[in-house]
């Protein structure tokens, strides 16, 4: 009998412990994301009737609403850029005193692992940042909120945003996010090496032919100077094949078209730069030295890289340099990278979250803060904001950033994006090291991609 009562007491005790542990866990999570949360957190946790259906007056007179807290997860505001995000937050809260933004910054390296766990656990922030490549995976898995109703409700003026950038964050006709910032890729060149090698400076009309010829002349200067650098990897490749009139997928995205003659020709061309003419260094010649460092040390004539190099090069390059629109071949194609802002499908404060991402994405204030800080490019179309961006030098041809926008292409949007990029990347490397011919590498890639990727 005693034994029995004891067992009962014990099981009760166990249950209690479990409850305490569980409560501590969830409490801990809450505190984590809202370390300086005010008592108003409570108000935000209780679901509002109106939160599902955005009403028109809510956006016009938000002050009338009760106080809410929007949790915002991001990676691009880590480190040096944190203070600019805080500036934006302050500007926003001045306009919307009833919305408190609770910023949670996670370093890029951990961001997607953490976000994945939290989304699966139903603990995702109300609004968060996603880069373009991951956006598609999230959108197709149905964890993001359709923001079209909000656009309609607030009569959002879509022309304030770059159309291509905005369009990038829709999938299957549904708008799942807004572009927070974007960047593109240009041809950067060392003016002094060009003059030394007596080659004409790159222009907007350059094609692969001029690019390779100039590279060869610069390579001929001396043993340790290289003509060009353009990484042989997935992101460059999907763009390069389009410059040559090819693509990785067929038009309706139902089959891979990786090993078409245009694509093989493209790969052959870039592999030749490494293995045949050697105007581009091999991995061994590079030997762990970063491509940017090679350029900064004055040993590289041209490098194809992103505008995010501006701030580094402005500070650390001692010679004269400038930029141009990337050369094309049969046609022009330039890169588009963007970080988008999305809303969690289960957010209880979706309306306020939308106000916040709308502000970050499309308001003049936020855009101006971004431009002044040199923190990527806002995806906005305000002429005066963009004007102030153009005034910064070097590079003196900053206009090329906007000229490139005319040729933007986006990476092939599929659900298994990361896996596809890795698989193709491995085969591209095999070719760039001479382990396989261009034809063989792309044949193998085509087969493996068809086997493993569901389209």
């Amino acid at each position: 009998m005693v034994q029995f009562r004891f067992m009962k007491a014990f099981s009760l005790f166990l249950v209690l412990t479990m409850v305490v542990v569980l409560a501590a866990c969830s409490g801990g999570n809450g505190n984590n994301s809202g370390s300086n949360a005010s008592p108003s957190v409570k108000a935000s946790d209780t679901p509002k009737e109106s939160s599902q259906e955005p009403s028109e007056q809510a956006s016009e007179e938000p002050a009338k609403e009760e106080n809410v807290t929007v949790k915002f997860g991001n990676f691009s505001g880590s480190g040096d850029t944190a203070k600019y995000l805080t500036q934006m937050q302050e500007a926003f809260q001045k306009e919307h005193p009833n919305i408190k933004i609770d910023i949670e910054t996670i370093a890029y390296g951990d961001y997607f692992t953490q976000m994945q766990t939290r989304v699966a656990a139903g603990q995702a922030p109300d609004a968060y940042e996603l880069n373009y490549e991951n956006f598609v995976s999230y959108a197709k898995k149905g964890v993001l909120l359709d923001i079209n109703p909000f656009f309609d409700a607030t009569q959002f003026d879509k022309s304030t945003l770059n159309a291509q950038a905005l369009n990038a964050f829709s999938a299957d006709g549904v708008q799942y996010g807004m572009p927070g910032s974007f960047s593109n890729v240009l041809l950067f060149y060392n003016k002094e090496l060009f003059e030394k090698a007596k080659v004409d400076l790159p222009t907007k009309d350059w094609t692969w032919k001029e690019f390779d010829e100039a590279g060869a002349k610069i390579r001929a200067l001396d043993k340790n100077t290289y003509g060009v650098f353009q990484p042989i990897q997935f992101h460059e490749f999907y763009k390069l094949v389009q410059q040559n009139g090819g693509s990785l997928l067929n038009a309706d995205k139902t089959a891979f078209t990786v090993n078409t003659p245009e694509n093989v020709e493209t790969l052959q061309r870039i592999v030749d730069r490494v293995l045949k003419t050697n105007i581009m260094p091999t991995q061994a010649q590079l030997s762990g030295v970063g491509d940017w460092d090679l350029f900064k040390s004055g040993r590289l004539g041209m490098i194809v890289t992103g505008v995010w190099a501006f701030s580094d090069f402005m500070k650390n390059v001692t010679f004269e340099w400038d930029v141009a629109v990337e050369p094309g071949n049969k046609k022009k194609a330039t890169h588009f990278f963007s970080n988008g802002l999305v809303i969690n499908k289960d957010s209880k404060v979706a309306e306020a979250a939308f106000e916040w991402i709308k502000f970050l994405s499309s308001s003049k204030e936020a855009a101006q803060i971004r431009v002044d800080a040199g923190w990527e490019l806002p995806a906005v179309t305000y002429p005066d904001v963009l004007e102030s961006y153009l005034k910064l030098t070097p590079p003196s041809n900053r206009q090329a950033v906007f000229d490139s926008l005319e040729y933007l292409v986006t990476p092939p949007v599929i659900e298994q994006f990361g896996e596809m990029a890795d698989i193709l990347g491995i085969h591209l490397t095999a070719a760039s090291e001479g382990a396989k011919t261009a034809q063989q590498a792309l044949d193998d890639a085509q087969k493996e991609l068809t086997d493993k990727i569901k389209l």
Binding site: A284, S287, V289, I426
Partner: protein, 302 residues
């Protein structure tokens, strides 16, 4: 009265056991069971579970089947085997040598132990970054030293064949101290009278080493061997940092690296779970075989 005391005693025991039991449950038992369940699904690691709506879909042994039928698993296993074949003999020789050296040093033994042990305490991230530089083709000291002897060193980590040996070097440097310390413990436990007797019989250093030291060390060597095999199958941070993800043409793709990528990069949590259960079975089998084989060569001093 008796039962009252008994109850108190039990309560004390339970209270003491509770913290570690909860830890074990929450951080080991539940995740293990959970991953076994996931391994039979196609869960993407993102959608909340909603069995009514069919997410995730239970696909039975589908994941296991496609892993074992695919070419990737065998390629990755081959890479791991390449690592093991290089690593195991080298680490055994290196740590026995280090232990013998330490055992014969009487002055400043503490200092030497520290020197050998420091790499063990270093984080893999720091160590791998240093080794990346050491093994660099043009600027790395290792190739500089090799060129003194007239050898033109390869671009270690950028080369399909040499990337794995490069990682083996780093691993040996990192792990040697720990295993040497275990073997040193074994060496110091050997009764010196054996050596004295052998010395009387005129055995030289080499035959003393072969006939006395090694057999009496065999329990420690056995432990080291098992640990090394398990560690090898779990090779991960070196690969990720030194060879940027998976090395030239995937030549350093290994099991744990694949599991990580599938789970957190490709959104295939179910597939990754199946992969890790296969890894578990492999390690289990290897360890069981070694346990079986130990009777043939491990001698316990009784």
């Amino acid at each position: 009265m008796q039962s009252e005391r008994n109850r108190k005693k039990w309560l004390t025991i339970i209270l003491f056991l509770l913290p570690s039991t909860i830890g074990l449950l929450v951080f080991s038992v539940i995740p293990i069971v959970y991953s076994l369940v996931i391994s039979f699904t196609d869960w993407n690691g993102l959608n909340p579970w909603n069995l009514a709506a069919g997410t995730p879909d239970f696909i039975g042994f589908g994941n296991f089947k496609s892993i074992l039928e695919g070419e990737e698993f065998w390629r990755v296993l081959k890479n791991t085997m390449y690592y093991i074949v290089l690593y195991i003999p080298l680490i055994l020789i290196a740590s026995v040598l280090a232990a013998v050296l330490l055992n014969n040093t009487y002055k400043a033994i503490g200092l030497y132990r520290v020197i050998f042990f420091i790499p063990v305490l270093t984080s893999w991230v720091a160590a791998a970054l240093i080794w990346k530089w050491l093994l660099s083709d043009e600027y790395g000291p290792i190739n500089a030293i090799l060129s003194f002897v007239g050898i033109d060193g390869p671009a270690w980590l950028q080369d399909r064949i040499w990337a794995m040996p490069g990682i083996v070097f780093a691993s040996i440097w990192k792990d040697m101290g720990f295993f040497a310390l275990i073997i040193l413990g074994g060496l110091q436990a050997i009764n010196p009278t054996y050596y004295e007797a052998a010395h009387m019989d005129g055995a030289n250093f080499w035959s003393r080493f072969i006939r006395i030291t090694l057999p009496l060390l065999s329990p420690m060597l056995f432990f080291v061997l098992i640990m090394c095999v398990i560690n090898s199958f779990q090779l991960f941070p070196q690969v990720m940092i030194m060879t940027q993800d998976a090395g030239p043409y995937g030549s350093t793709q290994v099991m744990v690296e694949r599991i990580y990528k599938f789970a957190f990069k490709y959104y295939k949590m179910g597939y990754a779970s199946s992969f890790s259960w296969i890894l578990f079975v492999i390690i289990f089998v290897f360890t069981a075989v070694q346990m079986k084989l130990q009777k043939k060569w491990v001698h316990y001093d009784s």
